[in-house]
Point group: C2
DNA sequence: CTGAAAGCGCTTACAG
DNA sequence: CTGAAAGCGCTTACAG
């Protein structure tokens, strides 16, 4: 229609330059008038290329939680593999040294997309700053670093999930209740990590602050990494009505409560670890808050596929729904429909 | 490698016949040894065809609920439109006559895939039986007709959702509670429909039966289509502690309760209609059970895309997760990450 | 700055 | 029963 060849039209559509202003205008006018949609099949067949993505996550050493996003990623790998998406995995041990070492390695390699979880805050900022120079799409899952722009995030709203935990704790409370906030840490844990669990605790307190009509609550906040060794804890638990564990290690308290045959304690925690589900099923844990880590992994890859293969824009922030899991509905949440 | 042309290989791969047994075996052996994956881009470019899908649902006449699957379908239409999926819509009025009329129309047209909601049980069985003769992939959403084989289903487990409702009602109950099961019907409603709400009620009762340790419950079950006109109801509600509405019209009770300023009544219902969410936010409705109707629509189209475009198998039954919605988590469930 | 041409891998109508 | 060839729509190296 413009009396130019397909080569020229292609140069205009993809802004590859080397065309006269005149032709650019003629062709764009025609496109505007008649529309043009790239044929994905033809385009990708001609490109005949692979899209290489690096997945950079903590190693699954006794960290059952990190299996979940990997499952979602594997699912996505299969689905998008058909479209030329290739995924390489890089795992770091749960310490900053290992993180930095592997991060350097990932940076050196030329990937077209990156999916990663910023477990260590400061190190992640450094890493992301370097990555951004390469101008490739990057997706963070699990926790967000809001300060860095232009990086997509798919994960939880930690504050709101703590707020929700407050609500769940408040069901069936007595006129006065003693609430324990138990921060169960890992023995090896360092401090320099993202502040997810702090945000959860903050949200938790906010719930009670903003709902002043509720009965009186007394809060106790302690950190531990091992309830079993501390026999004074039994005594303490006798005065407790509710326990909030702001991470996935809620099964440790549940075990303690079950072993010591403590009754009538409401427990709210996070994540569908095997052990947590067992205690949920047992009736020891009352609620688990679930933020679909498999789906985070799946959606992360899907986001990169959209950018790389379809050359489309994609949501830059996706908050996962805050799912409330009780004994009666967990089986249907597990069989995720990815 | 087999010293045959691509045409012959193609005939073997697609079982198009007209090849000697000998060649079939040679080529299959080579494929087995070296593997072969169809290049989707090349295949669909060469096929150069559109995949036409009929969507057959109730008309959205004051049925806000049915907007949700349509939103999901629209999302899918956009996403899979790029791959040649075309969707036509057929809506029937919420009565069997209209259903049959439109069903005939849909049957006459030649679609390659069908998405539909079997609202009227018997008429749907007739329709499905006819459809199956065409040997096209069919997906049901919303409610299932298990008797018909070879038809995919994406939707709720109605029984289990009622069971869950029982659990939700049971939070914070007194030593003796009066529970009202309110079947709010539409004035025009016929009886010949799928039995979703009956299954929900059944599941609801089961919860209390199977958890005999619970306090005493007294159940009252009534049907109505308009609480506002019945002034005797106020009196009745004064003796009620909990209300279970096994469908999306829970906002009608909520309105009644709010207008009559009745206090301390726990309400559990279904579906994220605008009005339901308002009452959830108000604190009148305590829990809504949500089974992601948008996602049902989206997944329905996605299922057909997998079958038609990718020529893959797809799950034949997908139960949606039973999501528990409270005031504190609903906003994140609405912004569905389709 | 532009066009003609080859090629991506698969499908299919056609001639033999 | 088989093969050669055209064509799907786009991309790109190359010649001019």
């Amino acid at each position: 229609m413009a009396n130019v060849s397909v080569g020229t039209v292609d140069r205009i559509i993809h802004n590859r330059g080397q065309v006269t202003m005149e032709n650019i205008e003629i062709v764009n006018a025609i496109i505007k008038k008649y529309g043009y949609k790239r044929n994905i099949y033809a385009s990708n067949l001609a490109l005949n290329k692979k899209f290489r993505i690096a997945v950079f996550l903590p190693k699954n050493e006794g960290l059952e939680y990190w299996l979940a996003p990997l499952n979602g990623i594997a699912k996505a790998a299969e689905e998008f593999g058909k479209f030329g998406v290739l995924i390489d995995y890089y795992f770091y041990k749960y310490d900053t040294e290992s993180f930095k070492k592997i991060a350097d390695k990932v940076l050196k390699l030329d990937y077209e997309g990156l999916l990663f979880a910023p477990v260590f805050y400061e190190e992640s900022v450094v890493f992301l700053t370097e990555c951004k120079k390469k101008n490739i799409p990057i997706v963070m899952i699990d926790s967000n670093i809001q300060e860095i722009e232009g990086v997509a995030y798919i994960g939880q709203d930690a504050y709101q999930s703590g707020y929700l935990a407050g609500k769940l704790i408040s069901y069936g409370i007595k006129s006065e209740s003693n609430i324990l906030i138990l921060k169960i840490t890992r023995e090896t844990e360092r401090t320099s990590k993202t502040t997810v669990y702090l945000q959860r605790i903050q949200g938790f307190y906010s719930y009670f602050k903003e709902n002043a009509f509720l009965p009186v609550f007394n809060f106790t906040e302690i950190s531990t990494h091992d309830t079993s060794r501390n026999h004074l804890m039994v005594k303490m638990f006798l005065a407790i009505d509710c326990v909030f564990v702001p991470n996935s290690r809620v099964h440790i308290v549940a075990k303690f409560i079950k072993e010591n045959n403590l009754q009538g304690i409401r427990i709210v925690g996070y994540d569908l670890l095997k052990q947590n589900l067992d205690y949920l099923n047992d009736g020891i844990i009352d609620f688990l808050i679930h933020q679909k880590p498999e789906e985070q992994g799946y959606l992360g890859i899907s986001h990169l596929y959209k950018k790389l293969v379809l050359k489309e824009e994609a949501e830059s922030i996706t908050y996962m729904p805050l799912e409330i899991l009780v004994k009666e509905n967990y089986s249907y949440s597990q069989q995720s429909k990815l």
